[in-house]
Amino acid sequence: MSLFNIFNISGSALNAQTLRLNTTASNMANANSASSSSGKTYRAREPVFEPMLSDALDPNGAADAGVKVMGIVESQAPLRHEYQPGSPLADADGYVYLPNVNVVEEMANMISASRSYQTNVEVMEASKRMLQQTLALGQ
């Protein structure tokens, strides 16, 4: 019965949005982690979503079911380069490298992820109600 599939579909979306929230939290936590070289500096991360293809879902043609995380990409934005001669991590010229995390962008991302999470929870709730009413048919 296809209503049961909705739990898989929305469940996969909950998974993906949780991962998105996780990377946002990680980015925010590391927004000010200074480093002495550009190679060791933390870079903002972001998951890339992809539709989960399922041929089993629709016998007449491939219908997408759910979403999965294709991978996590690091931001290619330039790192911040700040003059902090007092820092123990400063290089010979007194500069430290700071992550390329944009806190405003991360906040917007966080709100979007939690709203999407909420939407999918509500879809599951609605499907649960539909199933319960179907089970109570004729009683």
Partner: protein, 128 residues
């Protein structure tokens, strides 16, 4: 009662089609943030009327069995986006949620009709 197979009328087909549409809409909502995802839907009226089917099985003989699910050949159509987004995603979350709720209400309507029919048949059987 005319025959015992068609007790529930169109509602058995309507229910399975509504459940299928709920699944398609849930897929759209799950992929609201997926780059390049194209929102889909199925034309309920067209599929139910048999216009959307391509070579679907039909009951053409009284000895054929008519399955509730077998009659449909769902042709999913891509949604025409109101406003294109930069990442080619065509899911409009508000529109999809509205469609999902509408679909759920109509599912409930079919259930209510079925419940009434069952209750009517039961009271006729019991003769109370």
């Amino acid at each position: 009662m005319s025959n015992n197979i068609d007790v529930f009328g169109i509602h058995t087909q309507a229910l399975s089609l509504r459940a299928r549409r709920a699944e398609v809409l849930a897929t759209n909502l799950a992929n609201a943030d997926t780059p390049g995802y194209q929102a889909r839907d199925l034309d309920f009226a067209a599929v139910l009327a048999g216009e959307g089917e391509q070579g679907a099985m039909r009951v053409t003989d009284s000895r054929h069995l008519g399955g509730a699910d077998a009659d449909f050949n769902y042709a999913l159509r891509y949604r025409d986006p109101l406003q294109a987004s930069l990442d080619q995603n065509t899911v409009d979350v508000q529109a999809e949620r509205a469609a999902f709720t509408d679909n759920a209400m109509r599912y409930q309507a079919s259930l209510t009709f079925l419940n009434g029919r069952i209750r009517g048949l039961l009271s006729a059987l019991r003769g109370e």
